[in-house]
């Protein structure tokens, strides 16, 4: 247990700062928004409620967890708190891995917490499980993105902006890919084609979050267009690579 002290204190800090309360509050707000949207819908009110909840809670919880992570880690790096931690008999690799472990535990708890209202709304259990797994993998990848940006930029505002840009782009990556392919096929002006190729190239550099989880599975009670085997390697690849880059940045940094 002594070896996992950094992970333990990261979790304790999250508890001290009432992160769980914030998660619960977010879930309640998302349920309220979904209930309002479902009340306006003419048909399939129960499925609409669950689908709206899934769409809003996915965005909200990714934002809450990653904003918290970036704020805490940039503060640690800015105020040189990391230096104190590294005074313990742990290597920098251990420090980073324990941080990732702590945030992964938070992500696991969050994914399970978020899936409860879906189950309660009467969504098919198989769909709930698949959606929750996809959401969990998305949380893991976003945690690695946030840690990398925190190590890379060491400033909260820049890290948050970069995270928001990458996350929102990754959420629409397939659509951007399709859109730029259309422009290239249509044959626009020179600058349009260059930009389209640039956007197309960028879509290869980000995870395709659209495939991870979708509210339309819940709305139509059916999983389509995606396979767990296609997203699992994608998530593991991005998670591993981003963690390695973050580790490299942390090791190069002088304290």
């Amino acid at each position: 247990m002594q070896r996992l002290i950094i992970a333990k204190y990261t979790l304790l800090e999250a508890h001290k700062r009432s992160l769980i309360v914030l998660f619960l509050l977010g879930i309640v707000v998302c349920v309220a928004i979904a209930a309002y949207a479902a009340s306006l819908s003419m048909v399939d009110k129960q499925a609409t409620l669950a689908a709206f909840y899934a769409a809003t809670v996915r965005l909200a919880m990714v934002a809450v967890l990653n904003v918290y992570l970036i704020l805490m880690e940039t503060r640690n790096l800015e105020q040189e708190n990391t230096f104190v931690w590294l005074g313990l008999p742990v290597s920098r690799m251990h420090y980073l891995l324990q941080k990732i472990l702590a945030y992964s535990i938070l992500a696991t708890g969050l994914a399970l917490l978020v899936s409860l209202p879906l189950w309660w709304a009467g969504t098919d259990m198989q769909i709930v499980l698949r959606w929750t797994l996809g959401f969990y993998l998305e949380l893991l990848v976003t945690v690695s993105i946030s840690i990398l940006f925190a190590c890379l930029f060491r400033q909260a505002l820049i890290s948050l902006s970069a995270f928001a840009a990458v996350y929102l782009f990754a959420r629409s990556a397939l659509e951007f890919y399709q859109h730029s392919s259309n422009i290239i096929d249509r044959g626009g002006s020179g600058i349009e084609i260059v930009l389209a190729w640039l956007v197309k190239l960028c879509t290869f550099l980000v995870p395709k979050f659209e495939q991870f989880a979708s509210a339309s599975w819940i709305l139509h009670q059916r999983i389509f267009d995606t396979d767990l085997l296609s997203i699992l390697p994608q998530a593991l690849l991005f998670f591993g690579l981003l963690t390695l880059i973050a580790l490299d940045r942390l090791c190069r940094r002088g304290f």
Partner: protein, 249 residues
Amino acid sequence: MRLISRFNAIALTRSQLAQLLLFSCFLINQVQLVSKTDVEPYPLPQPISASDLRVLTLGESAIMAKLLGVWLLSYDTRAGQIIPFERLDYDRLAGWLKTIAQLDELSDYSSMVAAGVFIDVKDRQRQLKMIELVRQRFWEKPEINWRWMAQAIMLSKYRLKDISLALSLAQDLRIGAQGKGIPYWASEMEVYLLHDMGELEAALLLIKAMIDDGAITDADELRFLNRRIMELEASMQSNQNNSSNIQHN
């Protein structure tokens, strides 16, 4: 004394009083706007293509389709008043319904509101536009939209009193239904329409063609159609007898 001291505690400065007055004026203005009796309808904006909207949906295009559906349905309600559908631009409305259908291809929502809500106008041109939209949607996804095609057939026959339109829709339904798991009664609507039109021979030939085609495999359905053939043949025979009796007399 205590009351006066409390009043002093909430006493306002001049600038705060001015702000309060300004806010009150704004509120009164808003109330007047809302209570205006003759509300000008906002024109429906130009529809945005589904491919453009998809980029903004963060991969949740079905949710965007739902939101657009709610927005479109509530478009006739402005400032507490209901504006008749006749004042909506139906070309734009059809464009928005098409966008909704493309955003969520597994949903029959656009066909449902076209055949169930927006068709509820007195203007024939607008009704026809909605029926054409249902027909288009049916050809795009027959297995999802066949119910609303059947609804459009009934509306064409009974509300629009246009049996030739109903017949052409029923023909489309029969052709599009092949191999899509659509109930037999829906694809047989053309037969009933032909019967209603007095085209007994055409109805008979159609049933025979459907049986010969091998599209109908259900034994009960085949028995029902064979009985129908016998009924039609009997009707035709009695018609023939009646006409020969009239000629003889």
